[in-house]
Symmetry: C2
Amino acid sequence: MSIVTEKLAAINLGLGTFADALRRAGAEVEEIDWRPPGDGDPRLAALLAELTSDDSEPDGPGSRIDRGNGEAVSRIVGAKPMLVDVALHAREIWPERGRCLLHAGAPIAWEAMCGPMQGAAIGAVLYEGWAKTPDEAERLLASGAIPFSPCHHSGAVGPMAGIISPSMPLFVVRNEDRGNFAYTNVNEGIGKVLRFGANDASVVERLKWIQTVLAPALKAALRRIEGGISLKAIQSQALLMGDEVHSRNSAATLLFLNAISVPLLESGIDPRAAAETLRFIGANSQFFLNLSMVSSKVTMDAAHGVAGSSVVTAIARNGVTVGIRVSGLGEHWSEAPADMPVGLFFPGFKQEDANRDLGDSAITETAGFGGFSLAASPALVQLVGGTPEAATGFSREMYEITLAQNPALSLPALDFKGAPTGIDIRKVVDTGIRPVVTTGIAHKVAGIGQIGAGIVRVPMGCFVGALKALAASLGIA
Amino acid sequence: MSIVTEKLAAINLGLGTFADALRRAGAEVEEIDWRPPGDGDPRLAALLAELTSDDSEPDGPGSRIDRGNGEAVSRIVGAKPMLVDVALHAREIWPERGRCLLHAGAPIAWEAMCGPMQGAAIGAVLYEGWAKTPDEAERLLASGAIPFSPCHHSGAVGPMAGIISPSMPLFVVRNEDRGNFAYTNVNEGIGKVLRFGANDASVVERLKWIQTVLAPALKAALRRIEGGISLKAIQSQALLMGDEVHSRNSAATLLFLNAISVPLLESGIDPRAAAETLRFIGANSQFFLNLSMVSSKVTMDAAHGVAGSSVVTAIARNGVTVGIRVSGLGEHWSEAPADMPVGLFFPGFKQEDANRDLGDSAITETAGFGGFSLAASPALVQLVGGTPEAATGFSREMYEITLAQNPALSLPALDFKGAPTGIDIRKVVDTGIRPVVTTGIAHKVAGIGQIGAGIVRVPMGCFVGALKALAASLGIA
């Protein structure tokens, strides 16, 4: 949709390909990010109108969705995620699962998995001792003997490949507001680590150390903290300290370290284990990432399952598709092919090496962090590219597709406005604005690891699919 | 100086009183913050012209000042302040001083001291055991038996009242670039503390604990850190994490805690002392203030004493006057009556309770932190009042009166521009822009303590006086 003047200058509203064609013809083109309601599909626009509240129909589908969203948002804002325990092995939490591997994103079979997820699964098999060599592990996984299941189906989240195996320790988080629980594994650091698909001996050895030294130490420390550690308080403080608490957790990690260090010392554990634990956490500025994720997960799970609600309760990427879950749609996943993150790469790596968008960590965006709180983290642009002004712009844009400003999550650069929280799939389809996600970037080949960090958008297909499913669930064709 | 249109609208350049008169006459007045060069004094304007470089006079006073400033700025930018030791008692550093008390700001006698400085001196006498009761301590101090001396005369700095007594432990900081040393005492926390003039039993008890538990613990930890802790690296990181490293040190304190905790655990000290030490630091977000001050002091001392330089190397307030020291003026203090800080007060206190501007902590501003880096700390406005936009505005303004952008001190909100560093007294007098300082606020009555935090400007008289002294030192009448 363009207005072409006599001088062959144009203002291009949406649809980049048309602009590209004009440019090739030598025209100057100014692009404006505009899309017709319903993503340009007139049937979708009509559906959107039907799902929008209307004063003449107080019991119409739009009003029912609004009421559901009101309840969902109040559960998000009211959540009180507390880190209450460390389970020394995942199998304590899920004794029925046996030799299963959990993974990031929507359900996916071994054959369809991306390189880094396969690499991480191989590493997990070696870590568990189910195979002696990577080849043997690969054959075992290809045989179908080890079932796979999404983390999200077990109340859990895992960054990047998101592989959780039965011997891994888990953080246990309880939402004091509604009593629900969520789980995640322990962050390994950056670079050559399992979650980015690396699986050599150093990776497995680090996982063993986490299991045998760090997890028992943190468990002992947590036992001394009445009521647990408020993850929301840490997230909230960290937003005032330059983190968006997804791709930057420098302040949050230090705040966690401060919360844990004295209880750790007073727990009676071996002082060498205490020192090793503090050294590991203090040297890994992304240590808090998994805790920010699980805090977001327990928050969004509380808002999940509200009849009629169009609020997005999970965005999760298995490295092939991006799947979203919507409060009013139960266990339904709405999926679309994953985009390629764009950002900055570690020396020696480039965009062509990158895997598609990967990991459960976009759960933080659904709770108002990450790309939605990018205004809080001008320093992050040093890692992912762009400018502080653009970072603030992303947050501003996200208010267009969300239902609330979370009062507990102040963005200083926006005059302490609450972070945009509670994505409404109707708003995404209506405005054409896709949620923005900050993310790590994995090498597409199994076994290599992290190669950069950047920014990515959630595919529009997820929201269009979810909107149709929500309409169907409300009896609208 | 106003341009009045027919509609009785005016643009007012400086001199607020004229604008007020116009407003009373019903005019619309737009004020522009402009002042004539030389602060409105024609003789001063002429002096300023003489002290400004001129291509026709490559050896004229202006060029000599510029050359001195070039050297001073390169020493500031090149400084490498390392925390290398804790002296268990100040008397180890200054054995010749005997029963002396050091204090903040320019030299001042007991009778002339403000309430909080007298209160702190009384507390120090009780802490040293030189008297048994506050009355007895006061009589001792009034008798003149205890000499006073500015911290700055001993290569030291102290926040607020800045009282340092012989038994207090000191942080020892070395500038790796030039080998000079500086010293400061240990931060006690906020509220009812000695530096804000409080002196009851709890205050003295805390000082004793710092002396007997915390200081030996930190000394033992530092012994395990080869080369010491880089304070500049912590300050630089903290600017990316919402601190301006004067009135907000939340991130810097956590970064320090992270640097010290493992060496502390591995130092072999009593685990209970280690836990108490970590608890005290972790509970006091201003713990790093004194370290930021001493880092700035060792930096600015390195730039002090450069012939001809018009760079301000210290801003220090004794609660009655503000004194500045200038690199090319040796031991000269240029003083003017201190302003009243404006800010937010703790519940139960108000502006009328406030003491005048107090403390050596404005040394941080001379090194580019505090008010000069306010753009880094939008969250600080929650403590001192104002808006994040105004905070950024203060930093922008300070570029007008400084000589350099410090490349090690990035301000994210200004696209990572280096913090404005190296105040030139000529620029202050020329522009009429007074340096802005973030500050704690003490109750004006001895014995009460901190009652708020705010912002204050350095009096113009300090700069006018220094400019005249510099001219005299260069042989200009």
